[in-house]
């Protein structure tokens, strides 16, 4: 059984830990608000972009459609982009995304496909390099930039576009965590290439946008616009995913730290109770000894 001093130290150290987790929770809550706003304000752009592309894609016929839109017509080489956080202490946030990605990768490999992996975020690099070290082609760290923004998404998009144009990939899929709410983040797979054209507009049956019989005019040509629009769309989608990830990460971290703080509180209560019992027992023993000593005189 631990001595009283040892127990005091133990309680002290748990209290110190509790202070840290409490502080981390509050920091995460503050950052979450900002990340959430950012994710939400990025949505209109992504949405408009999707509807513009849906419009354009409807007009471009199959054969001469840009390859970013139509793909290579093959399904052999897969490029998997796994986006997670750089840091830990956020519960199962990164692990959940990686698990979803791993299932896909394993099933692709089982079907005899070539798989290459790009890891975004230190956590995904660490876990994936252990499992699929030979397939990992490149990693990106988000902490290279102070805040998540266009500069963090651009190099990833460029890398993907180059890999695709060099014929290293037929299908590109992005794994990230969709931010539902503070307590719910859903690992999501999004196919980047060939671009999936399904804006919310198409589902409402309103697409292509009703032009009342008028004909769209393009400057420069339709193909040229699509050609510059599609790489940009790639960046936009990645950026949107990074924003979602960021918000999800802080949400997850907040929940994890809240749990940790509560656990530390429980632990402190239990330890304090034990400590007091022991102290009282010791005092009682001392008293008995003193009384016994006095009676003996």
């Amino acid at each position: 059984m631990a001595s009283l001093k040892e127990m005091r130290n133990r309680i002290g150290s748990v209290k110190a830990t509790q202070k840290i987790t409490k502080a981390m929770q509050m920091v995460a809550a503050a950052k979450l608000k900002r990340a959430q706003d950012q994710a939400e304000s990025a949505r209109p752009y992504a949405k408009k972009m999707a509807s513009v592309i849906a419009n354009l894609a409807a007009g471009v016929s199959g054969a001469d459609a840009p390859r970013l839109l139509a793909g290579t017509g093959q399904d052999q080489r897969h490029l998997i982009v796994v986006a997670t956080a750089d840091k830990g202490l956020a519960g199962g946030f990164s692990t959940n995304v990686i698990r979803a990605a791993r299932e896909r990768i394993n099933s692709l490999i089982a079907n005899g496909k070539d798989v290459r992996i790009i890891a975004v975020g230190r956590k995904s690099r660490d876990q994936l390099s252990r499992l699929y070290g030979d397939k990992l082609v490149r990693t990106f760290e988000l902490s290279e930039h102070k805040t998540v923004g266009l500069p963090s998404a651009q190099p990833i998009a460029e890398m993907i576009a180059t890999a695709f144009e060099d014929g290293q990939a037929d299908v590109v899929t992005l794994f990230y965590s969709q931010f539902r709410s503070v307590i719910s983040q859903v690992p999501t797979a999004k196919q980047l290439i060939p671009a999936v054209v399904e804006g919310p507009e198409t589902q409402n049956g309103a697409a292509p946008i009703d032009l009342n019989g008028a004909v769209y005019e393009y400057e420069p040509s339709e193909e040229e616009i699509l050609e510059t629009l599609l790489p940009r769309n790639l960046t936009t989608q990645i950026l949107a995913a990074l924003y979602e990830n960021q918000a999800g990460f802080f949400g997850s971290q907040m929940a994890a730290m809240d749990n940790a703080t509560r656990n530390a509180g429980d632990l402190i209560n239990a330890l304090t109770l034990q400590y007091n019992r022991k102290r009282q027992a010791q005092i009682t023993t001392e008293l008995i000894e003193i009384i016994a000593g006095a009676e003996a005189l």
């Binding site: 752009y45 408009k48 009703d210 004909v215 400057e219 420069p220």
Partner: protein
């Protein structure tokens, strides 16, 4: 469609402007153009330059870098890589 044009200017980071306006002038790659309400469907890439928005008697300018303008029955949408409001000096 008498009178007002539904215009939105969005950048990847946020929606810069959204609302009903009278006229928008924008720098297209093949020349500047103005959009009035009930413009014919039209899509173009944009040069770097100034987008001017006219509402009532006032005029607001935005510095826009790289993007697209899309005019359709619902109005005008400008997707810009970067867009910042120009504060009149």
């Amino acid at each position: 469609m008498a009178g007002k044009l539904n215009f939105s200017l969005v950048s990847p980071e946020r929606e810069v402007f959204s609302g009903l306006v009278d006229q928008v002038d924008a720098p297209g790659v093949e020349g500047d153009f103005g959009v009035l309400p009930a413009h014919a469907p039209f899509m173009t890439a944009l040069r770097e330059g100034l987008v001017t928005v006219y509402v009532g008697g006032t005029r607001t300018q935005y510095d826009v870098k790289g993007g697209f303008a899309d005019v359709n029955g619902e109005g005008l949408t400008i997707l810009a890589e970067q867009a910042t409001e120009v504060v009149a000096a």
